[in-house]
Symmetry: C2
Subunit: 410 residues, 2 copies
Amino acid sequence: MQTPWEYRFAHRTKHMRSSVIRELLKLTEQPDIISFAGGLPAPEVFPLEKFQQACNAVLSQQGGLALQYGATEGFTPLRDMIARHTTRYGIEIMTQNVQITSGSQQALDLIGRLFINRGDYIVVESPTYMGALQAWNAYGAQYISVPSDENGMIVDELETALRVGPKFIYVLPNFQNPSGTTLSLERRKKLVEIADKYGVPIVEDDPYGQLRYEGEHIPAVVTLDSEFRGPNGGHYSGNVIYLSTFSKLLAPGLRLAWVIAPPEVIRKMVMTKQGADLHTATFNQMVAYEVAKGGFLDEHVKLIRATYKERRDVMLEMMDELFPPEVRYTRPQGGMFLWGIMPAGMDAAEVFKVAVQKKVAFVPGAAFHANGGGDNTMRLNFSFSSPETIREGVTRLSLTLKEMLAQNGK
Amino acid sequence: MQTPWEYRFAHRTKHMRSSVIRELLKLTEQPDIISFAGGLPAPEVFPLEKFQQACNAVLSQQGGLALQYGATEGFTPLRDMIARHTTRYGIEIMTQNVQITSGSQQALDLIGRLFINRGDYIVVESPTYMGALQAWNAYGAQYISVPSDENGMIVDELETALRVGPKFIYVLPNFQNPSGTTLSLERRKKLVEIADKYGVPIVEDDPYGQLRYEGEHIPAVVTLDSEFRGPNGGHYSGNVIYLSTFSKLLAPGLRLAWVIAPPEVIRKMVMTKQGADLHTATFNQMVAYEVAKGGFLDEHVKLIRATYKERRDVMLEMMDELFPPEVRYTRPQGGMFLWGIMPAGMDAAEVFKVAVQKKVAFVPGAAFHANGGGDNTMRLNFSFSSPETIREGVTRLSLTLKEMLAQNGK
């Protein structure tokens, strides 16, 4: 007889759904659709030649090591380099503060596995990154949403949430995915203080920190937390778990990211990662180290910034010119996304259907809301498409929006 | 104030321990220790030149694709190739039966996530692979151990275990890790029938199936299950979830493995993998495909077999010559491990301490027992060390064993 698999699956899978984005991406795979839906880096900025040289250097000099099993913590020279690099930002980091992960999505999953008991509350921004929700739903998390404005999470509204007794606060301070907004310095400082006051840890997700196109760099929350606590003998042992990634600086197809956290968190994370995938591919770590060790990425990021800044500018110019005034949107200082807000009552999922007929796509914003709402919002990516394509796409989207607004007004 | 992290960790981490093997490996990292403890392939058999050519071909021809985000299911040409390859063994497999994972450890983790509710029973062999226990402990699994002999799991003793109502049966039929034994054809057939009778799925873990050094190939359990059910329109929809890996055929440092399962299992597994790590590194999948597509691995595996066969033979010859007769051991027809059984009452953990003083190491067998026992057992790896090193290591180990037996006899 046939096995009725549906009844064998664990309880945690019952409400598991495929990522909205991944499903939408399938819809938008037709080549004549202009997609602002994905979160893809531009392949034009992948440093292919440098990468190829690095592969050859690693394989000819240390091939046996590169293709062998490795340590769960990660390739030590790469961890050392990340520690040194982070120290430049005025925070004391040692190698034992660093764990390499198979992309930031794995870091989010390991954090869920490490911290979340079924029913635990997590404080998130509204909107927040849906990949984090997807990871933590599997561990039975519940969410408390704190509203955001153009300066990120409204930290003044955090205190009530902290009195619930959440497991941790999740925040994306730089050019947030999905909203594109940046948490102000003042709010970051207040976040550190208020989290310390209530004794609740912070998970800081920072994939885009290096991708700033204008304005001054704002210190990371982990840096401010380190300053708040004062000197600590060289390593970090504060209240923040910090995530970043090579996906945006080098290439996402490597699945290479890192976590910075107090040593006792890293030690426990190593154990959870052992059970999850033993370790991240040795070869990929060694190649990334080879690419980055001479400071190449510091130079390379300038090309990425120039490319994405132009695309952001083109998208904003076109939107300023063509978008109906009823639709508001953020003006990100960096990153890969901006966020559109249509009048209340409009449904982005309906707009999406019409937009796809007009051969343009985006992500309806509801999926970025942990506790419902946001039906009238949308996420637009500006990193992937060429300026020319962006012009045409915004034109199509403007037509769609005007049409829908007119219908809505009837 | 300092965050008391220990109290923030989730309940599932309370009994989490680092893998015994990984901890032992640290002890045995001194260069003068001969280690039979790890499960490492010999780096001498890594096809470095071919691998380097493949990297260059992928990057020069499809670099943009290789470094970009990819589908959670895996790189389609690689999935197609695995489906075609598996079809050669007389089982109907289509691409939708195949999921690429970040090593077999991730496949074990995803299976746990997909199936195991806290308290669920899993039927395992005694001894069994400790990496599976490590993965499933995080999901709150309990285990029913079925004893094994030189022909693998004693299937006649399975029926009682199945009346408990377990979630699935976990079996490593070929050159089992740790015992080195192989499940006989007769028992495989009986396993398929009895699992079908009770409606309990089978998880078949087969990392070493290609590494047979003598005797006839025995069809995989998934193949026998497919035959048992008869033709099914081209794809597999039976009762077995089958795992295999590129770690032993190509290189473990790539973290590349695959799952073959009914399409409804694969569909759900894709969702769990999205939350776990989005997808396995695109570049690694494309390079593995490039290496394998012309049939290279079919040739390359002959070199691996010849290398490991020699090492196994040397280890067995030396043990036959030097080991005290009170210590029994298996004679594996393939794979990477053999299994030693000392007289009852001997403690392999104690023997280990003395062995390390004599500069030789192995893994005490207790960790491979889901429900205790096996204190007098040990796992020895023969794939990693050169024949010369194996001779010296077995000599040292024999001395250790004789010494401990003499003490024990006092």
